[in-house]
Symmetry: C2
Subunit: 132 residues, 2 copies
Amino acid sequence: MTATASTDTSTATIARELIELCRAGRNEEAIGKLYSPEIVSVESSGSEEMPAEMHGIDAIRGKNEWWVQNNDVHSAKVTGPFIGDDQFAVKFEYDTTFKPTGERVVMTEMALYTVADGKIVHEHFFYNMPGA
Amino acid sequence: MTATASTDTSTATIARELIELCRAGRNEEAIGKLYSPEIVSVESSGSEEMPAEMHGIDAIRGKNEWWVQNNDVHSAKVTGPFIGDDQFAVKFEYDTTFKPTGERVVMTEMALYTVADGKIVHEHFFYNMPGA
């Protein structure tokens, strides 16, 4: 794996911008500013109405809106970034109540982002949920 | 979060050593060389005989031996490291057959390691298993 200095800088810069926006709860803005229109988003698991793999920025905006509408967030902690060549990782810890069931859960996940041409083109979430 | 240059170097150096040994299949050696005797290891989920959280290098050696004895590894891919201040992340992809059931599964996971005084003191695994 090789990387030029500019690739490194770009990955680190985008990573820090993403984290700053997520810490401020400005996830919608992060998508608009940092995501490629061709973004691919992969969850650990999926269902018929919420498939594990989604393509394109409109689908990802929809997923984000669904999540915001269906979860009461009691606290959120963002740790990182952890920087690679064209990828970086972030740890998220969410204490949320899932509105449809009223179930409160602390979810810890690692997200792995891939950067190309100065935009996030791929995100992959790895969960650590109680009972999962 | 602040870090001195020496902390950064130490984290990156240990991260690269761990990856090199894991790529060579020398996980047992990595534990002996890089892990603190007080290592804490956290899995996404656990059972009565294999708790999610284990403490101490002997328990971690035992877990590693159990895994090696119970899985046929068809291929392994190690991606990273992803470097933070006193933590680093690694992505593992294993194509394995679990010997007791004969079930073949491709498992993708992110591991987050914490370094203190030049040793790995904490590891946390985030899974992405089909059907999990």
